[in-house]
Each structure stands twice: as structure tokens, then as C-alpha cells.
């Protein structure tokens, strides 16, 4: 069986889900046997490659860069997974959603002309941080803040073996 082409992506999130992924520890060896990491914050690859079998996306869609990437990734990846609460619900980044974008940026940057209001050196901040499925169809949802390594493995292992993952009960706990 050829190795599964896996990518992981980091949007508006704290990277906790990626840390939890690294917590797979010795299970990463089995992962490496069955999969190849073709794009990830932990791999130095600039362009999202074509023909990705599985992509785990951490974080909410918070700015124009995320939006652009997500639309590209959806075209290139077969299985798209909302990885962790920010990707599933908006979670912590969505705290700003009840407030006007301008007010948030001005408060954070402590200036009347903050970056992110328009496209510039930093991407334009979207009016609200969105869960992935508000933008593109999502194949699987892996909730948790962050999902524990055990939960990630319970989800990932069936996919590596060519089966369908099915999380239920306590494995669906938010937070």
C-alpha cells in the first residue's frame, strides 16, 4: 500500500492541537510507516502540494490568508478534517466575533490605524473568526481543546488503515 499523503495546517489557533499531535510519541513511528507528511508547520514546505490524501486543519478561519488557503486546500485534499475546537466551532478566536473588527484591532495594536484593517503587510482580518465548515465542506470533525493524543490516534489510525473513523461519546467532548 502506498504511503498516505498527509498535511497539517495551522490557521487561527494556538498550535495546541499540533502539540497534542506530537504527543502521539511512539505512535508517530507507526504514523511514519504508513504516512508521509507532505505539508505542515513542522515541515519546511512553502506550497501546499497537489494530491493530498488527508489534511488536518487546526484553527478558525480568521483572516484573508486563511480563507484563500482553505479554498485552495479543499481543491487539493481528498479528506479534510476540522482538527480541534477552533476549527470545529471557532472557539477562542471567535471570542472577538460579537465585537466590531475595527474596535478589536485598535485595542490590540493601541493605535487608531492598526494593521489588518485592509490588505497590507499582514492579511486583512475577517469580520468574524469562522469554523471551517462555514466556508468549505468538512469531511470529519475532531473536537477537543486540544484533542488528546489518544483521541487523535483513535481518529487517525483507522484512516491510516484505510477504514472510516467514528468518534462517539466522551471522544466528542468540546473544551
Amino acid at each position: 500500500m502506498p504511503k498516505l499523503r498527509v498535511a497539517t495546517v495551522w490557521f487561527s489557533g494556538c498550535s495546541g492541537c499540533h502539540m497534542s499531535f506530537l504527543d502521539l510519541d511512539e505512535r508517530l513511528l507507526e504514523f511514519a510507516e504508513r504516512a508521509e507528511l507532505v505539508f505542515s508547520p513542522v515541515a519546511d514546505v512553502k506550497e501546499f502540494p497537489d494530491d493530498v490524501d488527508l489534511v488536518l486543519i487546526e484553527g478558525a478561519v480568521g483572516n484573508s490568508e486563511h480563507l484563500h488557503q482553505l479554498l485552495e486546500i479543499r481543491k487539493k485534499a481528498k479528506i479534510l478534517v476540522a482538527f480541534g475546537d477552533c476549527a470545529v466551532t471557532g472557539n477562542v478566536p471567535s471570542l472577538r466575533n460579537p465585537l466590531p473588527r475595527e474596535e478589536v484591532l485598535e485595542a490590540v495594536y493601541a493605535t487608531a490605524d492598526p494593521p489588518g484593517l485592509e490588505e497590507g503587510e499582514v492579511p486583512k482580518l475577517l469580520p468574524q473568526a469562522l469554523p471551517l465548515h462555514a466556508v468549505v465542506p468538512v469531511d470529519y470533525f475532531l473536537p477537543g481543546c486540544p484533542p488528546s493524543a489518544d483521541r487523535i490516534w483513535k481518529f487517525l489510525r483507522p484512516i491510516l488503515l484505510g477504514q472510516k473513523p467514528a468518534l462517539s461519546g466522551p471522544d466528542l467532548k468540546f473544551g
Partner: protein
Amino acid sequence: MINLTIDGMKVQAEEGETILQAAKRAGIRLPTLCYLEGLSPRGACRLCLVEVRNWGGRLVPSCATPVQEGMDIVANSPRLRELRRTILEMIFAERNHICAFCVSNGHCELQDLAMELGMDHVQLPYRWPLLPVDLSHEKYGIDHNRCVLCGRCVRACAEVEGAMTWGFSGRGIFTLVEADLGDPWGKSTTCTGCGKCVQACPTGALFEKGKATSEQVKRPEIIVEVTERRPRA
């Protein structure tokens, strides 16, 4: 005794009992949120909906519907699972229920229901309303972002404590639970500070100040413990 059928099982119940009580005794689990033993039923959340087959498949809240002779009830079916999940999603989408930084994370009835009903995401668009948090009370706080409008606090305050501090203001999704006539909770002249509302609250909407998330475990069962110790009116 009244004879009825729940999910094909023959069940007997006393006159005046609700479908929920009869189901519970028969060992049939129904999800509930606004229902709390010791308080009057309200039928506010609709999560305990059941289908009465011989009423043309009509849906009724089991917590607020008395049993009747010959009722043929469906308590669990794909249709009901779908309806309950949609109702739950509506509750999640209506306010800012963000588990990761909630004082009730890990011991919240809403969070538990999401797991029980297999809700892995909310398909409905979130509203993200801007809602206040009132920390004016000496011992407790109210976070309207977490409120599901079940009214358990309102009923606990009126029916058990007899203070009638809590009430609803506004309508529909704009409803708020408010003390007295909308004063800050800390200014309330009727609140006795007993904390029954906090214990009755299923989510992190009402909480004790100065307690960390792990200590913020509520005891809604105290409502029935308190009421059982005194004769019913």
C-alpha cells in the same frame, strides 16, 4: 394505574405522573435540560420530546405531559435523534457556548448532552451575540453568554427559596434572566444569597466567584433534597 407503551415496552404509571417519570422507572433514558427533579416542569428546552404514535405521531415534551391510558410512545428513533440534535444545535448557536474557557467545562449538562447526542459540530450558523456578564453579587456571577434560558434558576428561586428574585425579561432569543426588575444582581433587595439558582443551573451561566473550573461542580440534586424534607403544599 395507567397502562402505556414506551418503545414497545409495556409500562405502568400512576395517574398524574409524566411520561418522563414513567420512562425513567422503566429504565428508558431521555435527554433533559430544563427539567430538574424537585421543580415544576416547564417544557422549555424540548430536548425530552417524544412521539405519541396513536396521536398521529404528535411530538410532546415528556417532562410536562401526563401519562394517559393506552398511549403508544416512541422515546428513541432516528427522527427523534435528528430533532434532538437540531434543538441542541440551536441552543449552541444561539449564544456563546465556548467550552474551552467556561467555568463549567467538564461538568456541564449542555456539554454532556452534546456528547450523548453525538453532536460533533454545529451545522447552524452561530449568532455570536454581545451579552453582558454581571459580577455585582458578592458571592456569585451570571454570564448571559452561557445561559440556555431553561428557567431552572427562576423556578428554584420562586418554588424552593420563595424569594422570586429571578425572572425573564425580553422575548425569544433576546430573553435575559434578570434579578428583580433588571437591577444588577448585587443590588437585589429580594435575593437571600442562598445559591440554589447556582446549584440548579445546568451550564456555566450561574457560578460561584473565587472557584476554579475544577471546583465549580454543581449539585442540582440539592433542590430535590431540600424539597423532600418538607411537606408539599
